[in-house]
Amino acid sequence: MKQKARKLSIGALAAVFALTLAACGNDSSNSESGDSSSTSGGGKKVTIELALSKSSQDSAFVQQDLLDEFEKKTNIKVNLQLLPAEQTSTVLQTKLAVNETPDILQYNLASATTDLNLERNFEILDDQPWVSRLLNKDVLSAYGHVYSFHVSQDTGMQGVVYNKDIFKELNLEVPKTYDEFLAACEKIKAAGYTPLFMPFKDNWAANVMPGAAFGEYVTKNEPTLFDDLNANKKKWTDVPAFQTILDQQYDLYKKGYTNTDVLSDSYDMAAGQFLDKKVAMMFMGDWLIESVEQQDANMNLGLFAYPTDNSGDAYLGASPLGGQLFVPKQAKHKAEAEQFLNFIAEKEVAQKIVNAQGYVSNFNDVTTPELPDYKQEILDNYITPKKTAMTMDAYMLVDRSELYRSLQDQFTGSKTSEKVLQAWGDKFAELMKDKGEAGF
């Protein structure tokens, strides 16, 4: 009996070893076969990793035909790592910390400076060939150096994304005041559509309206407020307007103008809700319009500024340019990563992307195409008359996810708007103190 058990265990051990060896062997033979097939394309086949948030999966830089073209031309395969939207910064921070970085990552420059320690972790791209052709270096630069890459210089705008067809069908004008906004919601609801879609399972989505509205309030009324908050000269609870704005968002839900299950619905459902003509409006950025119209060119969406009051003079929130590409210092295939940026920067390739996306070109030899309707409207109605304000997030030096979580608490009914600001104020002070900011 014992003998048998012994034999069995030795056999099992041998099997495990054999499997391990086989697995290793398999690996090497795979890469070898990869090599041999690649010889036809010239050079050794290299795979580079590009990491980006799942919420950016429609980004122009990761469209399959573009990646295929690049692979055909250079024999470099781009492998995409899609990170869960809520965890993008955590995952990237961890990867950077343990030096297991992707070769390229897509992120927002402004957030990269606060979340990812730009100077320590990323390559300065000043000497790249495409830099001399840039029209607006600032949108790609920090600390006086170009740290990131993009073909566009046009920043995302935040407000209320709305379905123009539903508005036309119900004879609705774009609401200019808070009262008009409520009246529009009532009318849309009566017609059987969901007036506002709130996908607050993704907690950042709960911050889109407040982030833009806080920014608008500060720009119009107290231009130094964010500096004061960042220097601990003022507290978050000192600003009654912030509380009013948070109350407004919650009231819209309480009045039944939203999807019923706001905390179960997630952002990835948003495009579908518009495509199925279930919802009329949503607090979001114009990037959503782009991705909805990409899926159905007949969709007729627009963006208007959310009116927090009855002054009739609402501003759109302007976020800093997002979606730039970065090359980490620890990237294993730095040269190939830079080759990828060079490829996108090529005149023809960049022109194709700028045309397809309706971007405002950032290269002097790439022309800006005729803008899509919604963008032209934003330009005419808000950007040219200077009715935009930087969103709150542009001013923040620390991670905001705790504020977003508190906003969820407001929707479970466990925190009032005052408590939300109080909890965030406490966390904000703690984070600023940990960061070593003066005044905390």
Binding site: S89, D115, R120, T260, D261, R405, S414, K435
Partner: protein
């Protein structure tokens, strides 16, 4: 003969395993202990000793305390749920049923699914207007229709229920193995002596099943205290922070770039698990009997 076997399986055979264990567990644990007393951060170069500051923060932060409370609720609920249901299933499926092999496979099958798959199945089912609530409404049990994943008071219990659903079948398998190793002779002897089913269960089954119970309690308890994936995939600690557990809080601390604090919470979790598990293990071992 004895001498030969000694030389064949000497203590030196333990060295490779011990080396791997030291490199990948003991060393990181000790290094972690060191880092938990520092201000190791994403945005600061160099680490500085800060004494017990991190631990002070853990015990004064409401969210961290809530996470500990949730972890305990989850651990206790899953230990009870997984073991009671697992044991009942094992006893039922140890009887001579025609379909027992089929049923065993069915009950065991959730435990081979990835948690991610389980979250994809359960998230839509547990929505306010999801299948579960629709079912309760349709049979008139409206009071059972709840905001399972969005009610802050309920959410950790919901996650525990899903975890029980997933792994009770695994516990069942261990209990079944235990039950099958009990010789039928005892039951026959007891029957002849006039013992009923309950008497047989308490006096024969339970004592002889203690080794299986011991393993199951340990596995479910340690698994419960170290919970991460179930919470992460179903709620990510939300809504707000209402379903945060120690595991997700560690992730959050790392996400905020506060690696020193993250390591401190991890060290604390290690200490808690050790302090609960080892005395329990010793206690249970003493109770074990052999045939």
């Amino acid at each position: 003969m004895i001498k030969r076997s000694k030389s064949m399986y000497g203590y030196y055979l333990v060295w490779p395993a011990l080396l791997i264990y030291t490199i990948f567990f003991v060393a990181p644990a000790i290094i972690g202990l060191f880092y938990s007393f520092t201000d190791w951060r994403l945005d600061r170069i160099g680490v500085h000793f800060i004494g017990f500051d991190n631990f002070h923060k853990i015990f004064t932060d409401d969210t961290l305390l809530l996470a500990m409370k949730n972890t305990l609720i989850f651990a206790i609920a899953t230990v009870v749920g997984k073991n009671v249901i697992g044991l009942l299933l094992a006893i039922a499926l140890n009887m001579r049923l025609k379909s027992r092999n089929f049923l065993r496979a069915i009950f065991y099958s959730p435990s081979i699914l990835s948690v991610l798959v389980i979250s994809i199945i359960f998230t839509p089912m547990l929505r306010t207007e999801g299948m579960v609530n629709k079912f309760f409404d349709s049979i008139g049990l409206h009071f059972l229709s709840q905001a399972w994943l969005t009610n802050p008071d309920l959410v950790i219990w919901t996650v525990a229920l899903v975890a029980i659903w997933q792994s009770a079948g695994f516990q069942m398998a261990i209990y079944l193995a235990g039950l099958q190793s009990i010789s039928k002779d005892y039951y026959e002897a007891a029957m002849i002596d006039g013992a009923g089913a309950w008497k047989s269960f308490t006096n024969i089954t339970v004592p002889l099943l203690l080794p299986a119970l011991n393993i199951n309690l340990m596995l479910t308890l340690i698994g419960g205290l170290k919970v991460f994936s179930e919470v992460f995939v179903l709620t990510s600690g939300g809504p707000g922070n209402s379903s945060q557990v120690v595991g997700t809080i560690i992730l959050r601390a790392f996400g905020e770039g506060n690696w020193g604090l993250g390591t401190a919470i991890n060290t604390l979790l290690f200490i808690i698990v050790t302090l609960i598990a080892i005395p329990l293990l010793i206690f249970m071992r003493r109770k074990e009997v052999t045939e």
